[in-house]
Subunit: 203 residues, 2 copies
DNA sequence: GAATAAGGCAAACAAATGTTCGCTTTATTC
DNA sequence: GAATAAAGCGAACATTTGTTTGCCTTATTC
């Protein structure tokens, strides 16, 4: 997929912004207005080019059926090759699409304490949990044990079940028979913000 | 905003799935097909109700102009209160909306090595970088120094500029005059996946 | 400077999509 | 069981939106 021309980029930007702002893609006339083109034919011509170039996908003849190929996905740069511009194709390892991050039933648990720090899970991190009543041996998850909620590695063997911290300063917690014990969810992802800019939105 | 009826929920779900899958919202006839309704009037009636209920917003008379009010956002659970169901309102700290995670110009850099492990940044993590030619003192960023790209804490004082690892096993790297030096971006977020399920999509 | 490609215009047209009207069916409520 | 609301049908209609055709202007390339 080659690079779009300057004008094509303007089109893509407009389409993305419009979609972002309205929740649905612009019609050909919307685009024409936005980019100050009086003829729908001009817009269509550009859209055809963008289609050929693979920058958009269209449900042909279908109203407002523009789908951006460069989705809200974030490029992943792997090993950066010497001399190459950082964002060049050579360095591109893949994409993480926003869709990958969201499952309708997942939720974040705010991490408290550093009992998992050897796994790089720090105080204040956001742990994305997928609700599940069971968990595999060795997986990290959130558990409720006698009223306390905790994020730990789950281990089970002949001797029983254990919630294992990933930090030498903390003891392994055995799950006794008769304890109130429940798997809340399995850890899918950990996320940490480094700036004030990404504040949590309350609603 | 009261709760939608069961049928209304089905509509909302369909609209959300369709939009997710296609990148644009369904037409009235698309919905009719999807929910096995033969009359467009039936669909429109429901949409009108959903509008009144505030569950969707519509660009009236405009094709495929359905915008879902309930956007995709992930709930954040803070301290879990004893006895409470995990997902109860009492435990809800806020939401992280998908939009917050994505800025059109940001990109991920795959982390190599453990030189930043005291900040919980581990080998294989995804570091979300916001491109910037400059960076504040004390902030973490990605830098290119004499052809090498590295993620470090940036420090500058009377003695010069330094790239500081967050791990005692690694030396501080001074930036000498005449070095080829460039700020690639500022670290906004770190993300780590714990399962095979969230693989990177290559395209 | 001719050739070519990108970008643009206007107008007529076709297809997709939303709207309205009157009538039926199926719960749910009192 | 009557009354009411929710959900649905079909058909005609109005509007929005996408498509096509022919021609123009302006860079860019060779």
């Amino acid at each position: 997929m080659s690079e779009p021309t300057k004008r094509q980029k303007q089109f893509l930007d407009f389409i993305e912004e419009f979609t972002e702002a309205n929740g649905y893609s612009p019609s050909i006339r919307d685009i024409g207005e936005g980019l100050k083109l009086s003829s729908t034919a001009s817009v269509k011509k550009m859209l055809d080019r963008l289609s050929e170039g693979g920058f958009i996908r269209r449900a042909s003849s279908s109203a407002r059926g523009i789908e951006l190929t460069r989705k809200r996905s974030i490029p992943v740069i792997g090993r950066i090759k010497a001399g190459m511009p950082v964002m060049s194709e050579e360095n591109l390892e893949g994409y993480i699409s926003v869709k990958d991050l969201v499952r309708s039933d997942s939720f974040f648990l705010r991490v408290e304490g550093d009992s998992m720090k050897n796994k790089g899970i720090m105080d204040g991190d956001f742990a994305l949990l997928r609700p599940s009543p069971v968990i595999d041996n060795g997986k990290i998850g959130a558990f409720r044990l006698n009223g306390e909620v905790t994020l730990k590695t789950f281990r089970r063997n002949r001797e029983g079940m254990f919630l294992v911290p990933e930090n030498e300063d903390y003891p392994v917690i055995p799950v006794h028979e008769g304890d109130e014990f429940e798997v809340i969810g399995i850890l899918d992802m950990v996320l940490r913000f480094f700036k004030g800019q990404y504040d949590i939105k309350y609603s």
